[in-house]
Symmetry: C2
Subunit: 117 residues, 2 copies
Amino acid sequence: MTEEGGRDPGEDAVSEVLSALADPTRRRILDALAAHGGRATATVLALQLPVSRQAIVKHLGVLTRAGLVVGHREGREARYTVLPSPLTSTARWMDRVASDWDSRLSAIKNLAESDHD
Amino acid sequence: MTEEGGRDPGEDAVSEVLSALADPTRRRILDALAAHGGRATATVLALQLPVSRQAIVKHLGVLTRAGLVVGHREGREARYTVLPSPLTSTARWMDRVASDWDSRLSAIKNLAESDHD
DNA sequence: GTGTCGTGCAACTCTGGAGTTGCACATCAA
DNA sequence: TTGATGTGCAACTCCAGAGTTGCACGACAC
């Protein structure tokens, strides 16, 4: 198993979330989706954003693979909902990396000071 | 001024940090840079990573523009240091977005329940 | 049944960026 | 000064992905 229960994302999951969020159009899609209360179709989203419906569909595919969105059919239309959990776990990953850098930097700094004095 | 003191990143800063972190080679560069205690040259990094020095230099430029790295010259060589602060502020941005989605979703859910009962 | 609306799939264009190579310049050691 | 090492700049290739258009299929209203 390469997954450990959703608490630790794993490099692949982090990579997909970061790539998904790096595109400004996808962030606008997520914004519009959240503004719609987490229930909207690709057609509705295409009316509010300056891209075609097909572009929206492709972006929703990327967001779904990143776990940021889930879709379910209702009759002939497909509604999509935002999922906040990958965001928080990626934020935790960032905090871990940042504190790791911090500790390394302070260790080097202390070493340099005790060496320089 | 479009900046408010480093606490609130702003969409542009968030976008640059996310784009910078989305590339796996750049994450490996940051890892190697942190492992080197935050002081390494592009040539040294190129010896440990499967890309050329010029590719490293370009990535360091992207990371510098994102504020994740800063470089300073020492004689004829250019050393680079990681900067953790953009990571933590981007993590806070993610947490804000996630909690925003959460509140919207729960509001819709409550509305649907009270409407459906 | 017919017509309409929403979706899904496929092919296509095109730009940005990741990576390379080559060369010129600056800095240090001999 | 000469040679070696590190850096910076420029031109180039290449491909993933963002976006488009066109069409076919399924679901609803009539």
